[in-house]
């Protein structure tokens, strides 16, 4: 483009340097290539690595979630390491961890849509799937944490024989509403976004059961503009609804802590701090699963280095916000003059859980700072390494918040050292297996990249594409954008 824009123009005119528009899809790919590549993942045989990941994941999920919860239900919730003071141990740590993971999916699909960040199209489908699966994993913990899981319907405001109603002033009930709404809206968003792509698969299938099933889920989509017009309005509305929703969900999760009178929890910084942390942890998880998937299925032209660069920058930004929140918490504990608040934070830093605190600090605040260097953002091993550290660090953040606080509240006589039980560990590892199982099934059966939206970002999809070519000289000089620079002009 740089050459064609400068060729045949008036050389006397001063040129305005303009950064060339980023190519979101590399190597001038056609519509058909995009369809073939993405549908090929579903239609072809899965590579060996898929089975090598899938089989252990299923086994871990079956033993951890299936076996662990069976043992828990048949014995009692006491098999988890929770005790009278540490009512919330690993189960709630894991709940907050998984819910947080989900937030990046909604952020990519909704907030980046509203801000017209077109690079989201290559990653939004997988990120939304990740949201749904993470919320599924998260849902397990509060459901079984209530003690008698068969009574879990008491969470819903349904008239019952005892004539008891829920306490609508309680953040725990707000949480029930927030998480279930979040799951429902995310599912609608994910599914409706997929309808045109399911139609693509339907149209490529040979007649048979597969075609029938994809056909039913494609709802009879035809791609007419009278459908697209409503469809795009729906997408905009769902994005506009999801944006405040995603901010509300982790805010309400943080209210579980912040509205209590427990030192270390009773702070107003919690809602923004939790939301930033959730986005931070979620983006790390998106990269953790997308970088390998990109290699395994050869999606380098669609999930480009620019996408990874953007996400690494978001991790750097949100990681720094989280770091600011950690420091500000300490400062407020000191500045408030409250000796209980001060003692709670002193116990975090120099108490028996100091190892967890410094692990969190290193993984969440120090590690992402490496992304200031461009070369580090371009090295996928470094990106993967930092993302793994962030995944660990964000888990430890929730551990620090819950476990350093509850077993050491107001009465020193109650203090003790919290240890998770074997069933705690089993359930957590099981949910990791469950998450991977669901994600691998998603890669196997559903289009993992938004086919229609990726096609929409191509240059030739603009109906006025031809008109631009009629007037090549717009008085500007094109500066090379990131991809072109990275690939030495090869990417054209």
């Amino acid at each position: 483009m740089a050459n064609s824009a400068t060729a045949g123009t008036d050389s006397n005119k001063p040129k305005i340097p303009v950064l060339e528009r980023e190519q979101l899809i590399l190597n001038n790919r056609s519509y058909n290539w995009i369809t073939e590549t993405i549908c090929g993942i579903i239609e072809g045989r899965q590579p060996l690595i898929w089975w090598l990941l899938f089989i252990p994941s299923v086994i871990v999920a079956a033993i951890g979630v299936g076996g662990g919860l069976f043992y828990l239900v048949s014995t009692g919730v006491g098999v988890w390491g929770n005790s009278n003071n540490a009512m919330w141990g690993w189960p709630i740590v894991n709940f907050v961890f998984w819910i947080g993971i989900g937030h990046a999916g909604t952020l990519i699909s909704a907030i980046l849509f509203l801000t017209r960040q077109n690079w989201r199209t290559s990653i939004n489908r997988a990120a939304e799937a990740m949201t749904i699966f993470a919320v599924c994993c998260a849902g397990i913990y509060p459901m079984f944490h209530v003690g008698r899981v068969w009574m879990v319907w008491f969470l819903a405001p349904i008239p019952n024989a005892n004539a008891i109603w829920q306490n609508f002033k309680s953040p725990l009930l707000w949480d029930v509403f927030a998480v279930s709404t979040y799951f429902t809206i995310s599912l609608i968003f994910w599914y409706m976004g997929m309808v045109p792509d399911l139609a693509t698969i339907r149209d490529r299938c040979k007649p048979g059961l597969r075609k029938m099933l994809y056909g039913i889920f494609a709802l009879g989509w035809r791609g007419g503009n009278r459908q697209w017009s409503h469809y795009e309005m729906m997408y905009l509305l769902l994005a506009a609804l999801s944006t405040p929703l995603v901010l509300s969900v982790h805010s309400i999760v943080s209210f579980d802590f912040a509205t209590s009178v427990v030192p270390g929890w009773h702070t107003t910084i919690f809602p923004p701090y939790f939301v930033a942390g959730a986005v931070f942890g979620g983006f790390a998880m998106v990269l953790t699963i997308m970088i390998p998937a990109r290699f395994i299925y050869g999606l380098q032209d669609m999930i480009t280095m620019k996408h990874i660069d953007n996400m690494a920058k978001i991790i750097l930004l949100t990681g720094t916000i989280v770091g600011y929140a950690y420091i500000m918490e300490l400062f407020v504990a000191f500045y408030s003059g409250s000796k209980y608040e001060g003692a709670a934070f002193w116990l975090r830093i120099a108490g028996p859980y100091d190892w967890a605190y410094f692990c969190m600090m290193f993984c969440n605040v120090v590690a992402p700072q490496i992304f200031w260097a461009k070369a580090m953002r371009e090295n996928l091993w470094v990106v993967m390494g930092v993302c793994m550290l962030v995944n660990i660090g964000m888990w430890f953040e929730r551990f620090v918040i819950i476990v350093t606080t509850l077993p050491r509240m107001w009465l020193p006589g109650d203090w003790k050292y919290y240890n998770p039980s074997a069933v705690d560990i089993m359930t957590y590892v099981g949910t990791v297996g469950m998450f991977l199982t669901l994600f691998l099934l998603f890669l196997r059966f559903l289009p993992c990249i938004n086919i229609a939206e990726v096609k929409w970002t191509l240059k030739q999809s603009d109906p006025h594409f031809d008109d631009i070519n009629d007037h090549p000289d717009d008085g500007t000089e094109k500066a090379e954008a990131y991809q072109q620079e990275l690939h030495g002009g090869e990417a054209k």
């Binding site: 009930l173 709802l219 409503h230 999809s461």
Partner: protein, 184 residues
């Protein structure tokens, strides 16, 4: 079971690119057709205007749905907490001033019902789900979800004329023009 009686659904014409489709759509619009549609693998910016379509009414439906959600949330929380089963905890009153503590519930239910309205509203407006459509009988139409662009003009449009409509689509740059029939 199938009868051999066929009814003409309309003409289907292929266009080579998004911009060709856009220009053809303007011509069909200017010819005064009402029952026709442009088919593409992705939404095309500005095609609504080129087809002379109005903005989707979905936002109005969603506004009503959201309002209903807000009212539902308030009614649910107020009735249960103040009227039926007042719980005096957390030093919060059990009267109209408790409403502030219901805001998260009101918000979530507003979003939930807006979301449901969006889902069912859009399906209603798009006329989906449906199991079949006359256009699915066309072999080339399968490519509409891959890389092809089509215009279909329906026979039930009052302006439809077997020869003139075909000519119009051809003049606008259409290729592979096909008469699509449906079983009566």
């Amino acid at each position: 079971m199938s009868t051999s009686a066929k009814r003409v659904y309309g003409y289907l014409a292929e266009y080579e690119s998004a911009s060709a489709l856009y220009k053809a759509a303007e011509k069909v619009r200017d010819a005064g057709f009402k029952k026709w549609d442009c088919y593409s693998p992705f939404p095309i910016h500005g095609l609504d205007n080129a087809m002379g379509m109005k903005r989707s009414i979905l936002p109005y439906l969603v506004f009503c749905g959201g309002t209903l959600g807000l009212i539902t949330g308030f009614t649910l929380a107020y009735t249960t907490q103040v009227v039926i089963y007042p719980t005096v905890v957390q030093a919060k009153p059990a009267n109209i001033f408790t409403t502030a503590a219901f805001f998260p519930i009101l918000f979530e239910l507003t979003i939930l019902l807006s979301g449901f309205t969006t889902l069912f509203g859009v399906l209603g407006l798009m006329g989906l789900p449906r199991l079949n459509h006359p256009l699915f009988a066309s072999k080339q139409f399968k490519r509409v979800t891959d890389d092809a662009f089509f215009i279909a003009v329906e026979a039930r449009d009052p302006n439809f004329n077997a020869d003139a409509t075909r000519e119009l689509l051809e003049e606008a740059g259409g290729t592979n023009i096909e008469l699509v029939e449906e079983e009566d």
